[in-house]
Symmetry: C2
Subunit: 338 residues, 2 copies
Amino acid sequence: MATGKQAVSMKAIAEQAGVSVMTVSRVLTGKGSASAKTTALIKGIAKDLKYRPNRLVRGIQTGRTGMVGVILPADLGYYKNLLVGAHDYFAAKDCGVITSLVQGNMGEEAITDELGKLHRLVDLRADGVILRPVNEEASSAYFEELIERAIPMVVVDRRLSDYKCDFVGTDDYLGGQMAAEHMLRREPKRVLVCSASEVLRTSFERVRGFRDGLKESGVEVVEHAFGRFYSSESDMKKVLKEQGRLDGIFCVGDLLAIRCLRILEQMRVSVPGDVGVIGFGNLGLPGDYGARLTTFEQNPHEVGRQAAKLLYSRIGQKGKSPVKQQLIVPTLVDMGTC
Amino acid sequence: MATGKQAVSMKAIAEQAGVSVMTVSRVLTGKGSASAKTTALIKGIAKDLKYRPNRLVRGIQTGRTGMVGVILPADLGYYKNLLVGAHDYFAAKDCGVITSLVQGNMGEEAITDELGKLHRLVDLRADGVILRPVNEEASSAYFEELIERAIPMVVVDRRLSDYKCDFVGTDDYLGGQMAAEHMLRREPKRVLVCSASEVLRTSFERVRGFRDGLKESGVEVVEHAFGRFYSSESDMKKVLKEQGRLDGIFCVGDLLAIRCLRILEQMRVSVPGDVGVIGFGNLGLPGDYGARLTTFEQNPHEVGRQAAKLLYSRIGQKGKSPVKQQLIVPTLVDMGTC
DNA sequence: TTGTAAGCGTTATCAT
DNA sequence: ATGATAACGCTTACAA
């Protein structure tokens, strides 16, 4: 310690009260017993001295620091409410949340950054970690420091492909099914699915759910896979023109759906009169058309809350238990485009 | 420690290397000297054992935990980027950020919550705190635990009325002046100021800046004070009708400005043809008209960065130094309504 | 260059 | 109900 007067410690209280440090500890933590008299005395002195327990020391001693780490992309966007959801839960558990923001979405640099944040959390002896992974291909070697110390981790929003661990995210399959159900009310004959790519799990699951939801309806389903959750105007125009008559369109992302709406407007096709359009709330920040798009709102707040809850349950849980997958149901927001 | 194998400590490395703990400490922290041979040996073993320093202990020992607290309102909104800005700075300084979100904007409950979060940060021995206060009237007694321990605090966005301390926020006065300057290009004869209330510092400062900016222009300035940063449609309509001929309107908040635009449209007054309208980016989330409103964007990211920078400079600064006020210049966003 | 001893503020453990 | 002592993992201060 550099300079200045020492911060008040249990020792100081003990001296003033004429008891041992242990008695102070017992009174102040509420664990163990003490006479009513000493209890009152000690509590009084603690208040007078503005005593505050040193959680660092307590953490060293008990193995629980009461801090958890949350690692998210630096451009918070969609994850803002996830963070808030996690906070909501942890606040109730008197857990401090160390937020770490990772620059970039992929690439070596982002991975290095992510790993650095993980290390910092280990160094601070966080009780657990919530991670939205940048490095989706990370193997268990990547997480060795966490594993070594049995620090529980819950992954959110994006699944890790190589490393099995607890996960909380949107139920994309169910969302797809719900989209199908909603679409069926139009009694369509032929519908188009605008997907991203089979290798993108969210897209794949949404499509799978949608197809399964239509399975016994006899509706004809055609699909066009744009490589990403986005399409240029010309690509979309080409696709829609080629497809000919359609009664409905399900896009696995809002950006695709908004593009659809624009093109359909150009083509003088009425929505939802001629064609119904459903998007999926990939970004949650729709543009001009977005506000009126029938889509699925993901519930990042709930994802955050559930991730926190799951993580908390893992903390202090002795051995290993089977991996859990908590899937949060998206909400259909009917804005009349389908 | 409850169960399981002990985490690897310097002691473990020391034993394996056949040296003392101090040598390990010196090598791993880079402070002090050691022979090239032992250095290599120790570093090798540390890596093999996946050693990670215990920052808690280091914090206890050195008085610097490398953690700072950031306390913001629970509905992050505008503060999202402030948080990101603070992170950007602290990440570079290898500082962990403990985020605390306070429920509610005023009232006893929120204050209790805020104080609780402050206490938790003290308990975790944060090196410093950035606070967007809920409790603006808080006196120094409110912050006694921080003061007692000489934990530096920087207040952002809202000033504390009773307690002098470092502050970083938007330069409202300058914003007002800039609005005036912009307005003058229209060569107006008569302008209306839609203010909130004199007791709201941000409103007051914006108006003061605006008036000062027009001082020598000879422009006639009339002012209507709505109690808040908001007006009902009927109130605004009444005011605009009563005022008669106007060349420009400066609203201290975007919500007021958007209301203005709507009423003017109803009144068939062209903007910016007949009247120029300037708002102030109170919320940053403009509605339909907002996207086209000439207004001031506050720079929460920069506020966060500067607050972090200021706080960091205070950390480890020995005695007390004069209070600093860092004012961030808002950006004029000309969307053509003035 | 390296080591020893003491201490940081608390809890765990075993007494009394 | 209370206390003494060790331990947690590291750094500071002082030797050698």
